[in-house]
Amino acid sequence: MNSATEKKLDPDQINVILATDCGSTTTKAILIEKVNGEYRQTYRGEAPTTVEEPAADVTVGVVNAVTEVGELAGRKLIDENGEIIRPAQGDVGCDIYISTSSAGGGLQMMVAGVVREMSAASAKRAALGAGAIVMDTICSNDKRLPHEQIQRIRELRPDMILLAGGTDGGTQKHVVQLAELIAPAKPQPRFGGTYKMPIIYAGNQEATELVEEAFDEDVKLTTVANVRPVLEQENLAPARDAIHDLFLEHVMAHAPGYNKLISWADAPIMPTPGAVGNILQTIAERQGINALGVDIGGATTDVFSVFDGTFNRTVSANLGMSYSISNVCASATLPMILRWVHLNMDPRALQNHIKNKMIRPTTIPQTREALVFEQAVAREALRLAYIQHKEFATTLKGVQQQRTVGDTFSQETSGQSIVDNMKLNLLVGSGGVLSHAPNMQQTAAMMIDAFEPEGMTVLAKDSIFMMPHLGVLAQVHPAAALQVFERDCLIYLGTCIAPRGFYKAGKTCFAYKITGKTLNESGEMVCGDMRLFPLGDDEWATVTVEPRRGYDFGEGSGKRVEFKARGGTVGLILDARGRPLMVPADESRHLAELNSWVEELKLYPEVT
């Protein structure tokens, strides 16, 4: 257990909070202060992350970022020895210091389970939930021969391995067989060759001794409770906690300067995505809503969801906007990207343009064409990451469900996705391409096109990527985290209202009536229409929709529904393009519709 976990904190005595996030390239620092009895995020600074030569000490980057915050805030935060001053006295120091990290590429894991759809899926969920990138899943039924599996384990250099399999008291043979495959592979850890590969066993507890026998002293084996003790139940928390502990004690401790950082922090350092998941869970729990969050980065896209209290997180390891932009294009294909582009572009030049962005990932679009194209790529990256998330966030597989007569014609089997766009209340976007889009309409449009929200969905964005900081803060001071999240982190863009149902060219989709303090409108939406109504932040409007047959706002086909819509910096968007969203196949017609959406949402106004 690291020293950070032993510190006792009194939430009432905390007035100044300093938080950092050590990213793979940039270390971000924010200051949270109690102003008039409320916690507010006040200043922000950043500096390059310094895990590599010549500094080779992560705390150097932290001190640089914190110094910048201190200068902006007029508060001395670093003492003469280069350490963070605590507790706060007047305009010197802070009360607590917390941090997250994904420096060094974050936590990379391999998982192994007996059956891909059952124990291996549970192990993967535990690893992803802890903030890891899952490099590969080894299981008895993955169609690879044993020697191929061993070869794969040898090729990869994960930070740790999670092994699961079998229900408690069930069969032991298969999970021991997996252990026997992993042990001789002698997996090499990523950082250096001096520490032992951590392996977490979270399978059939009765097979623990046999699994221990399979491994020798070349690995560090930790046994925790089974991730799937019975078929109908998952128990991911013990494995998740063990991953966090091992991440701190073994992986981070081997990165330069981390021991010092760990000793500075007043709460355990968490992997960045794990922290983002925490804050989303907290907000969904407090407000009693279903929420979906996305963080689109340069290398990966993380999707987080909380539906009916169940949290899921996926990392799409090679879907991103800079390092992985080429992979987005390879996965989505160029025609799929170009369906979001309303300007004429040369496909060959675009392909080279994508590769040039991949090799020089820090560049930004200077021209309107380049911006339009990058935002089109972003839509596809988000869409693909969301598909992966929906496939992963399912009810437990392998569990028999009781079916009634009413289910006779339903083809649904066990393991359905629990992500339901119709039930989604809040969609939060984060990451450069969403957070730094020149206007908010573009952010809203990218999220709507990629996620296709149905019914009524509130859209928001993370203002300055503070969700990781708040995720850790939620562990030590939930009230402060929630206040800052609501007041300074989230920027409400508005509400999107869209029915489920197929696009039928020229047909009326639904009628609407909007009543509010500043907005009173009514009319009809034809299939393919998008309409934007101004509805300011903190404003609400009552929206009544009457769909035609075949269209559903959540109450059934053709049923009238009334919503209370929240305004925002963009406003209220009515979307009659159909769900699933399909663009017309005919090119000229498609271009006409695309241009009408661009114009209606004022996506790319001329810059004077």
């Binding site: 950043e46 060759g193 390092y323 992979n327 996965s331 590769k355 991949m358 090799i359 679009p365």
Partner: protein, 377 residues
């Protein structure tokens, strides 16, 4: 405010360069401090545990897993050869015995009474590290490897395919903006580091591979050509393990783009010299660029007056040479003019810190600071 520009590619006529040559797992270092080594000399070696072959003996001789240890004719640690009888069942009253033979040679690592599985480990796999850079052994890291140092001409490319290669520098193109096409290549390029000018065409690369070129270096490549050469679309710029037979390095980027004049001229100056090249690229944190390392020889003087561009201090400031790395001026070279402090609105609508670049043609253009890289001496 963080510095948004990209550190540039290094193009140095003469520099004291060191290469760290480390084994992936502990082993033996074969050279001593102060020793002169050649580029292809092996300086350290070790052995990886051999490949393993799992054998499900219980299934093969139809016995319960718990009976397998009793049926084995070898014990853990024993060596077996192909065809050796591994295990024999006890049969019924001594009759109907089943047997299984080893299909691969190796040492028995484990015999499981739970799964009935036997793990056979093959012979250790040798791993050798070459010096790569001809020079003097500056440091020996016990059991790990060495640091080799020497005065070299050092050039970085932007992206490479394939790993380390060695050969004499030979030019195929006469100017920096001449595309490298297949007609320019003949049998003389076998084992050579071939230098082109602008874009290397797909057919030229295929011809170069057929003729056995050690490496091909040119300004650019078309994405479509690269896809065809590799047989897949490069998703992320993490390369080095491809096995084309020829290492490829592009110095500028994708598309029809000429090699930077300074790079071309410097390579021209070293024509005929022995070079070591490495295409390994990793554009992530801890960036790795492909490189060309050419040790200095007696004909080269230590006079640095031939440096045609002043070395930068690593900071973006007025007067330093830069390359624009994004549309609409992609590939153009110039020097930094004014650096306004306030944010400017770009044509895209984004707000950004910008700078003025005075192009070689004399024209002045405004670009985001993130869209230039330093030309580093």
């Amino acid at each position: 405010m963080t510095q948004a520009y990209s550190p540039g590619l290094q193009v140095r006529r003469q520099t004291l360069h060191s290469s760290r040559r480390i084994l992936p797992i502990p082993g033996d270092v074969l050279v001593k401090v102060g020793e002169q080594v050649s580029a292809q000399q092996i300086v350290a070696q070790t052995f990886m545990p051999g490949d393993v072959t799992p054998i499900n003996v219980a299934n093969q001789i139809s016995v319960a897993p718990s009976e397998v240890p009793g049926c084995m004719l070898f014990k853990e640690g024993d060596e077996v050869q192909v065809g050796d009888l591994l295990a024999r069942s006890k049969g019924i009253f001594g009759f109907f015995k089943s047997e299984t033979k080893a299909k691969t040679a190796g040492t028995i690592e484990s015999i499981s009474h739970v799964t009935g599985q036997v793990i056979l480990r093959g012979a250790p796999l040798p791993i050798q590290v070459r010096a790569y850079q001809a020079g003097v052994v500056k440091e020996v890291i016990p059991e790990q490897g060495v640091v080799i140092e020497s005065e070299v001409t050092f050039l970085q490319g932007i992206l490479g395919i394939g790993g380390e290669a060695y050969g004499t520098i030979q030019f195929a193109c006469q100017t920096k903006d001449q595309p490298l096409t297949e007609e320019l290549l003949d049998e003389s390029i076998k084992g050579k580091v071939v230098i082109g000018g602008a874009r290397m065409t797909g057919t030229a690369v295929k011809r170069g591979i057929e003729l056995g070129a050690a490496a091909i270096v040119s300004g650019g490549i078309d994405d479509e050509d690269l896809k065809e050469i590799l047989g897949y679309d490069l998703g992320v710029a993490v390369t080095g393990s491809e096995h084309l037979g020829t290492t490829l390095i592009i110095t500028e980027g994708f598309g029809d783009i000429a090699m930077a004049e300074r790079t071309f001229n410097l390579l021209k100056e070293r024509e005929g010299a022995e070079a070591a090249v490495n295409g390994t690229t990793q554009i992530r944190a801890g960036v790795l660029r492909p490189e060309i390392v050419i040790p200095m020889d007696e004909s080269m003087t230590s006079d640095s007056s031939a440096e045609d561009v002043k070395a930068t201090s690593g900071l973006l400031e007025t007067g330093v040479p830069v390359r624009i790395i994004r549309d609409p001026y992609f590939g153009l070279l110039g020097e930094v003019g004014e650096m306004p402090t306030e944010l400017r609105t770009l044509e895209s609508g984004s707000q950004s810190r910008v700078l003025e670049v005075i192009l070689d043609s004399g024209e002045k253009v405004i670009v985001p600071r993130a869209n230039v890289e330093l030309i580093e001496g």
